[in-house]
């Protein structure tokens, strides 16, 4: 590791990288602060901007958006009792009551410090755990890789949405869409319906613009137009946090960071699950349980540290196995692969300097998030009140420009529109979109490994149970399915018990 750190630092500490980190952090915090705009939407919109960049500045820019998005969501949660992003919902429970009690700046500061700690903790976990997991991944052959993909897809299908069956249907749909175009083994065209352009397949970024970004615009039909009126004059406290409060923050922040890292490593789970889990654990362990829900320092610290501690951990399965930890990092895979960086051990050996620069950069991203948070939070707070009338067309124009610039072709804009309609129909049928995204991202890898394994075994499916690693993943799949079904059953029982 040490042999990579020095050259990686040289690659990382350039004016260009520092600039892109700061632009990313600023955009991410602003986007996440606006209710209704999510981090995933922001990453999709700005992904095409990275196509003309090299790997390090491109990834630094996207990681800046990703990490700052974790903090930005808490701004509107604390100020106007509306989480900017879904994972800031737990922060809202104590952040807003604290703000109502006249301690808005203090609440924002606690959220910022906890987010930064969680983010740095997670970045260090990536730095130390990533190469070890990559070494393990290097021992996997094609049947094992297929099982890894099935494992990732199973968890994602299980935890996204209300029902596991729906998740599997959605994952199948995503995997099927990835089959459109040239066959990866024989180059025969598949499902092109005579449209030549489809031979190249559908670009993941273009599909995502339709599935996640444009559909958000169509969903504005469900909301009433109007502004969110937020009085920034409320931020009149001096933001002092007492020594006692710092002491009380320490334990939930550390706990939240640990939970965030553990949850983040599991594919398919994300910041929302981590922040709620951490919040409930902090509440159980607290000596001041009665303060939770009424402006508890521990509550804010636990939720915020956990949702930012997910950021580095989600990159561990992405960089080592090519399995994205959540939807947002799935999009970052495109930015990596466009620069010829394919996940796995080779990424840490042959491209080690670049990889370590990216991992060290994640620490830097969190430091700049702290600096910008301290200096610019009043500005982030003001953007909460940007009118929908202005914001909506601007997002559409970004989406169209982004879709066009992927291949410099209007065909892709049309594809994005088709996926927007598909996403709207899926929404009406309560189908979760994240398994589709993962199916799209993992489709080629899953199919290629499936077919190669069968080719090696002359069509005998026993090859998928031929090694200890295969059995480990079979065991993990069974365990995951069992845990998911148990969780869903408990969810169903809970409302009945509450009644």
């Amino acid at each position: 590791m040490l042999q990579h750190i020095v050259p990686a630092s040289g690659l990382l500490f350039t004016l260009q990288n520092i600039l892109w980190i700061n632009i990313g952090v600023f955009i991410g915090a602003v986007f996440a602060a606006i209710p209704g705009l999510t981090v995933i939407l922001c990453v999709i919109l700005f992904l095409p901007v990275t196509y003309s960049m090299s790997a390090i500045p491109g990834m630094m820019f996207l990681l800046g958006i990703y990490c700052a998005g974790g903090y930005g969501g808490s701004v509107s949660a604390i100020l106007i009792n509306t989480p900017g992003t879904p994972h800031a919902a737990a922060t809202m429970l104590d952040g807003h009551p604290m703000s109502k009690a006249g301690r808005t700046k203090a609440a924002l500061k606690i959220a910022l410090y906890a987010s930064t700690f969680g983010g740095v903790f997670s970045a260090l976990a990536l730095l130390f755990l990533g190469p070890q997991v990559a070494k393990l991944a290097a021992q996997l052959g094609t049947p094992e890789y297929f099982m890894v993909c099935v494992f990732g897809l199973t968890i994602i299908a299980g935890v996204s949405g209300k029902s596991m069956i729906r998740g599997i249907i959605a994952a199948c749909l995503g995997l099927f869409i990835s089959c459109i175009g040239a066959d990866p083994m024989t180059s025969y065209d598949r499902f092109t319906f005579g449209i030549n352009r489809l031979y190249l397949g559908l670009d993941v970024a273009v599909c995502l613009i339709g599935l996640f970004a444009l559909v958000e615009i169509v969903s504005r039909a469900e909301s009433k137009p109007g502004e969110l009126h937020m009085d920034t004059r409320k931020m009149r406290d001096n933001g002092t946090i007492t020594r006692e409060e710092y002491k009380r923050m320490a334990r939930p922040t550390l706990l939240g960071s640990l939970i965030g890292v553990m949850v983040g490593i599991i594919p398919g789970t994300g910041a929302s699950e981590a922040s709620w889990f951490s919040y409930s654990q902090a509440k159980n362990m607290s000596k001041h349980k009665e303060e939770f829900g009424h402006g508890s320092v521990e509550g804010i610290a636990a939720a915020e540290s956990a949702n930012n501690a997910v950021t580095g951990a989600t990159l561990i399965p992405l960089l080592t196995l090519g399995i994205p930890g959540d939807g947002t990092v799935a999009i970052m895979l495109s930015a990596l692969m466009i620069n010829g960086l394919n996940p796995g051990l080779t990424l840490f050996t042959t491209q080690g300097d670049i990889m370590y620069a990216i991992m060290l950069g994640l620490v830097l991203v969190n430091i700049f998030m702290l600096i910008q948070g301290k200096l610019l939070t009043p500005l982030f707070a003001k953007v909460v009140s940007i009118p929908q009338e202005i914001l909506t067309p601007i997002i559409v124009i970004f989406c169209f420009a982004g879709a066009y610039s992927v291949n410099k072709n209007f065909f892709d804009v049309g594809v994005a529109l088709v996926f927007c309609v598909l996403a709207w129909v899926l929404r009406k049928l309560d189908m979760p979109p994240v398994p589709i995204l993962l199916g799209l991202v993992l489709g080629r890898t899953t199919e290629t490994n499936f077919r190669r394994a069968l080719l090696i075994s002359n069509g005998n499916p026993k090859i998928f149970f031929s090694s200890i690693y295969c059995w480990v993943f079979v065991g993990l799949i069974v365990l995951a399915v069992g845990a998911i079904i148990r969780g869903k059953l408990n969810e169903k029982k809970r409302p009945a018990q509450e009644e």
């Binding site: 901007v49 598949r190 504005r220 009118p387 169209f400």
Partner: protein, 164 residues
């Protein structure tokens, strides 16, 4: 005109359709999988020498999808037989009409940009159409939004060198 639209909106708001969501999703995706399986021979060419051909993976996916759909439908039919309540989703007609209007704005923006070959034309239309959709009456908002639309086009065109 505004009053007429408000009256129409109020009438549409009251109209709701309840969809048995699991049953519908199960049937729709079962049919989708069936159609894809039927289209497979005409859409995926294979060679007899292939041990595992290009149809194997999509066929496996569609079969899995059909099994899941059958489970969804079966679960709902069991509920009907046992006279248990089904899961419904309420669709409001006003929301759907508004969604169609937004979709129309998106499609027209795309058609304008594509036929003129000038992305900026579509961008300006999009900005104006959404301001009208939101019934915006503030001239400043029009100036800001159109200015931003042209600005985004300029950034992509001159800074990121995207020729459109």
């Amino acid at each position: 005109m505004k009053d007429k639209m408000d009256k129409l909106g109020a009438r549409l708001r009251e109209k709701e359709i309840r969809i048995p969501v699991d049953l519908t999703a199960g049937i729709v995706f079962f049919l989708v999988a069936g159609v894809i399986l039927l289209l497979m021979p005409s859409q995926v060419a294979v060679s007899e020498r292939d041990v595992v051909n290009g149809r194997a993976f999509p066929t496996m996916l569609m079969a899995l999808m059909m099994i899941c759909c059958a489970l969804l439908v079966g679960k709902e039919l069991y509920k009907i037989a046992k006279k248990k309540p089904l899961e419904y989703k309420t669709v409001n007609l006003l929301v759907e009409v508004k969604a169609l209007i937004i979709l129309a704005i998106l499609v027209i923006t795309y058609v304008l940009a594509r036929t003129t070959g000038l992305f900026v034309v579509g961008a300006v239309f999009c900005a104006l159409a959404f301001l009208l959709y939101f019934r915006c009456t503030k001239p400043l908002y029009y100036v800001i939004t159109v200015g931003l639309a042209v600005g985004i086009w300029a950034v992509f065109r001159f800074l990121l060198h995207v020729r459109f």
